[in-house]
């Protein structure tokens, strides 16, 4: 059971390994806070839709499963969007049209199709939660790097020395692509190191 949760954090991390759900990942991570908010919204949608889909999985005719999954996901996304607008107005303004785009985040439909439609509620819940947390963590890392270099702050606190020139390119689209590309590379190196260490430990 625990495995279902843990795999989303590292081994099958939706961003660094599967490279899925790119548009929100790249677009909203100009600041760590936005990355966190987008991550939480996505986690909410992936968890609630996975649970619902897992509950109804036996009643859904195979031919129309994709449209039904999509409608369920879109419903939760709308709910999340209105909730943000009602309670976190500033954040929802900053995320703009990228909240509705969670609907087409392939991570969510991917989980529904590959896991929730085949497994019991408990496992689907853990699987979705793991993916959500892994997604959120990656978004915060990306947002933090771009915020530190692009604006000299982290979660709005200035941390760079006086006279630090902001790297404007980091908050531009180009910076998003390049940072994520390099992060994927770093991830691969770390992953390989960990694997060899584990093999050595095994003997």
């Amino acid at each position: 059971m625990i495995k279902d949760f843990v795999k989303g954090l590292w081994k099958e991390n939706p961003i660094f390994v599967q490279v899925l759900g790119m548009c929100p990942t790249l677009a909203v991570t100009t600041k760590a806070l936005f990355g966190l908010s987008m991550g939480l919204a996505t986690t909410f949608v992936v968890v609630s839709s996975s649970v619902v889909i897992s509950v109804v999985r036996k009643f859904v005719p195979r031919q129309v499963r994709i449209p039904i999954f999509t409608v369920i996901i879109a419903t939760f996304v709308t709910a999340a969007d209105y909730f943000l607008k009602a309670n976190f107005f500033q954040i929802s303004k900053a995320l703009g049209p990228y909240v509705p785009l969670i609907v087409v985040n392939c991570v969510i439909l991917g989980r529904a199709e590959a896991f929730a439609s085949k497994n019991k509620v408990g496992r689907s819940f853990l699987d979705a939660l793991g993916m959500g947390v892994g997604f959120t963590a990656a978004l915060i890392v990306l947002g933090a790097i771009r915020e530190i270099l692009g604006a000299g702050t982290i979660f709005e606190f200035p941390i760079m020395w006086k006279g630090f020139t902001n790297w404007i390119v980091m908050v531009l689209p180009a910076g998003a692509f390049i940072t994520l590309g390099l992060l994927v590379g770093v991830f691969n190196i770390l992953d390989k190191k960990m694997k060899t260490r584990r093999e050595i430990a095994k003997g």
Binding site: T78, F177, V184
Partner: protein, 193 residues
């Protein structure tokens, strides 16, 4: 007329969907290996985008707004896009088998392409009129094709380059996309006049 040209150029070049809004990245990373398939996917997407813009515009302004159902926007739009892709697939298969052979395999990929839903949402946000919406859809499609084909061209050459091992695949693709995004920013001056 000037406004329409502006909408087209903005959607296709200066505010390129892939390189400035990050929309449609999944196929961008997945399918941009071969120039030929990139062209195919690009044309199919442009086709669906243009029709999707027109249809969702009509639905939004003549159904959702008058009946005060705007909160059903996302659900409606995604259903419209999914069924539209199905219809287009069936229509092409019946009317033009050669075209279907060329585009058919790309069509199912389009439903989950966030560029289409993104297009319809932006269209509403920006208050475009019907004609502008269609041009916007067309421009966005052309821009998507452009980015996809350029990327495919570069990646074909990349096979002969020595890419550091950890960056192979997604990593290097993203970095190249970053450089393309920088290059496309240079076009920003076109509409500043």
């Amino acid at each position: 007329m000037e406004q329409l040209i502006l909408v087209f150029i903005a959607a296709s070049i200066t505010n390129n969907f892939v390189l400035t809004y990050f929309l449609g990245i999944c196929p961008f990373i997945g399918v941009s290996n071969k120039t030929e398939s990139a062209v195919g996917l690009g044309i199919a997407t442009t086709f669906v985008m243009t029709i999707a813009a027109a249809v969702t515009w009509l639905i939004y302004h003549y159904m959702l707004v008058p009946f005060n159902l705007v909160f059903l926007q996302y659900v409606t739009f995604i259903i419209v896009i999914a069924s539209l892709v199905q219809f287009v697939e069936m229509f092409i298969r019946k009317t033009s088998p050669p075209l279907y052979k060329a585009l058919g395999i790309f069509l199912p990929l389009i439903t989950t392409n966030c560029a289409i839903l993104g297009l319809t949402l932006f269209m509403v946000l920006r208050n475009y009129n019907f004609l502008e919406a269609i041009i916007f859809g067309l421009g966005a499609g052309v821009g998507f094709t452009l980015a996809l084909v350029i990327m495919a061209g570069i990646r074909e050459e990349l096979e002969f380059a020595e890419v550091p091992k950890p960056l192979k695949g997604a990593g290097i693709t993203l970095i190249i996309a970053g450089m393309l995004a920088l290059a496309f920013m240079g076009f920003g001056g076109i509409i500043s006049g």
